[in-house]
Amino acid sequence: MEFFETFSTTADVGIRIRGKGYDGLFHSALKGLNLLLFDCRFDRVSPLIASFPQTPYPFEFHGDSPENLLVNFLSEILFLIQQENLITTGLSIHHIDDTHIKADLLCIPLFELQNLQPELEIKSVTYHNLEVKDHEGIKSAEIIFDI
């Protein structure tokens, strides 16, 4: 059910994601972002992930819409990578609805994963053409990143 892929516009890049309910959608968003940032190198290091403890990084956000939650969720993951050198490799969602998410982002320092570095610098997550759609409980969205 979970689906994620990357795409690009003339100047920027994005992810197309789908999942069962918000839970599935946000898991797909995390995987899509990691694919965008690390490309196939993430697959190469993923067997190592089990060898290291994932440190939970609490994340809670009250917003005004699912789009608002998604932008802030992805911005948090980017902040952890760019500022704290932590990659979010897993996600444990405690609560999620249209306007509220409470979760643990499960993180590993980049240097533990063969000093994995992002392939591109994402400046920000945009609201451009962002709309979370629902079809019989399957949520989907396209998110554009400014790079």
Binding site: T9, V13, P118, L120, K123, S124, T126, Y127, N129, L130
Partner: protein
């Protein structure tokens, strides 16, 4: 939207007139500077739709413009220029972009390019720039500041670097930076802790993406008088820096888009949510403008410290002082910014907030906001190409004041998406290919290089043709890359 929606009013100017808008939503004309080829491509990639969307914003004065390097953005197109009254108008973070005061700085030298070839200095310069200048996403800057020191940088911009951190520059350099490298900022309390944290460790860093350092040779002079005023001599080396406000500016944009969204939730159903805006006079408008100035000051400080590091590297390699090498700052120019300016609009002198997103200021001879040394010829307009093609120095014109709010293009502008660029270069060694053209490229990111391959960008010569043909800036000199360092 198609070409028939536009009237070609001169060879390089295309206007969609307000009175032809069937939706009746335009508040002013939409105008694109370009060849037919440029405007057709911009219609196809939806960028022209974005120029139209901007023309529907409340209170817009003059036209909604797009420069010839127009391409699809979010909110404004890249290359977009729009102005709103300073007292009653609006401000849009989407009219500036996330990399606030992304810009270009050019240094001139009196080192003949032949010196580089003679002593194999090119490799040495490239390796030293790549190893001593922080590049990429996670690298930190040259200096780590405490919060108090960082706030002084936000308040004073490039001046703070000259006073406290630079070894090779003086207060005189500040005159050759747009707005002297400093805009008014006195509200540090509005800057988030997260922005502070990101910014404190990033002063003096290049970043990634399309940011670069380039050592060039000046290979053509088109305007001897202006080139002499700018200190540009055929055959000599010049150095170009392209970067912005790094994570600090990105965080400021993210924070204030969120604030303005929350305060103006009813406006989200406008044509594009990235066009969310605040009244200039509102608290959130005032706070965004203050934060914008802080990020602009950060970017000028960043480029100033980078320049200092580059001069240091050149001194070591050439075993000459910067004075002996004739190193001097030609100009530093923002291309993602909003600033208050005076313009003659509809026959009246108006104070307006001009948004330029992927567009540069191009003030004419005699304008009081350009350095005295350049006042007879006009403001330098810096137009970087892609890493395998020429860059240009142009000069601002009176006509730009009359027809483009004193604005011109900012670079080549992308024409291929990253995915298409990667497909195109799947079997290509970009470094090797450029080496055959005598251009040495240094980068830690192979994928990043492929995404920035010259074919991904529009022909810079076509952009220059339009800026000259339309009269919004005139050619002064052309530079060819010799060494490129990509973030």
């Amino acid at each position: 939207m198609n070409l028939n929606d536009f009237t070609q009013i001169s060879p390089y100017r295309w206007v969609m007139e307000k009175n032809t808008d069937k939706s009746n939503s335009m508040n002013t004309n939409a105008e694109v500077f370009g060849t037919e080829h440029i405007i057709k491509a911009a219609i196809e990639d939806q960028a022209v739709q974005q120029v139209f969307n901007v023309s529907t914003l409340p209170g817009i004065v003059s036209n909604s413009y797009a420069m010839p390097d127009i391409h699809y953005g979010y909110g404004f197109s890249i290359g977009g220029v729009a102005a709103f009254p300073a007292d009653t108008g609006i401000v849009l973070p989407g009219g500036v972009g996330y990399d606030i005061n992304c810009g270009v700085r050019l240094l001139a030298t009196n080192i003949p390019a032949s010196e580089l070839q003679k002593h194999s200095y090119k490799e040495s310069i490239g390796y030293n720039l790549l190893s001593k200048i922080p590049t990429g996403t996670t690298d930190k800057g040259k200096i780590k500041l405490d919060k108090k020191e960082f706030i002084k940088v936000l308040e004073n911009g490039a001046e703070e670097i000259v006073e406290k951190y630079a070894k090779y520059s003086s207060r005189n350099d500040l005159r050759f930076i747009e707005s002297s490298g400093k805009l008014d900022f006195d509200m540090p309390g509005i800057i988030s802790e997260r922005a502070m944290e990101r910014g404190r460790s990033q002063v003096g860093s290049l970043g990634g993406g399309n940011h670069f350092l380039e050592v060039q040779v000046i290979d053509e002079i088109y305007d001897e008088k202006a080139a002499a005023a700018f200190g540009l001599k055929k055959g000599n080396i010049s150095i170009m820096i392209h970067t912005g406000s790094r994570g600090f500016g990105h965080q400021i944009a993210t924070d204030f888009i969120e604030t303005i969204r929350k305060k103006n939730i009813s406006r989200i159903k406008i044509k594009d949510p990235q066009l969310i805006y605040a009244e200039i006079r509102s608290p959130e408008g005032q706070h965004y403008l203050q934060a914008l100035n802080a990020a602009s000051n950060f970017a000028w400080a960043n480029r100033h410290l980078l320049m200092d590091t580059i001069i240091e590297i050149f001194e070591v390699i050439f075993k000459l002082s910067s004075r002996e090498m004739g190193m001097r700052l030609v100009y530093d120019q923002a291309h993602n910014i909003a600033k208050f300016e005076n313009h003659l609009i509809d026959g009246k002198n108006q104070r307006v907030l001009v948004h330029r997103k992927g567009a540069t200021r191009a003030f004419p001879p005699g304008h009081k906001e350009i350095p005295e040394e350049y006042r007879l010829v006009g403001q330098p307009v810096l137009l970087p190409g892609s890493m395998g093609t020429a860059s240009y120095v142009l000069k601002g014109t009176q006509k730009a004041m009359e027809i483009s709010l004193g604005s011109s293009a900012h670079g080549a502008g992308r024409q291929l998406s990253r995915h298409k660029a990667l497909q195109l270069t799947s079997n290509m060694d970009v470094k090797d290919r450029l080496k055959k053209k005598d251009i040495l490229v240094f980068s830690f990111s192979g994928k990043g290089l492929r995404e920035e391959v010259p074919e991904a960008y529009k022909e810079i010569d076509e952009i220059v043709e339009v800026t000259e043909g339309a009269g919004i800036s005139d050619k002064v000199a052309r530079m060819i890359p010799l060494v490129v360092v990509k973030g």
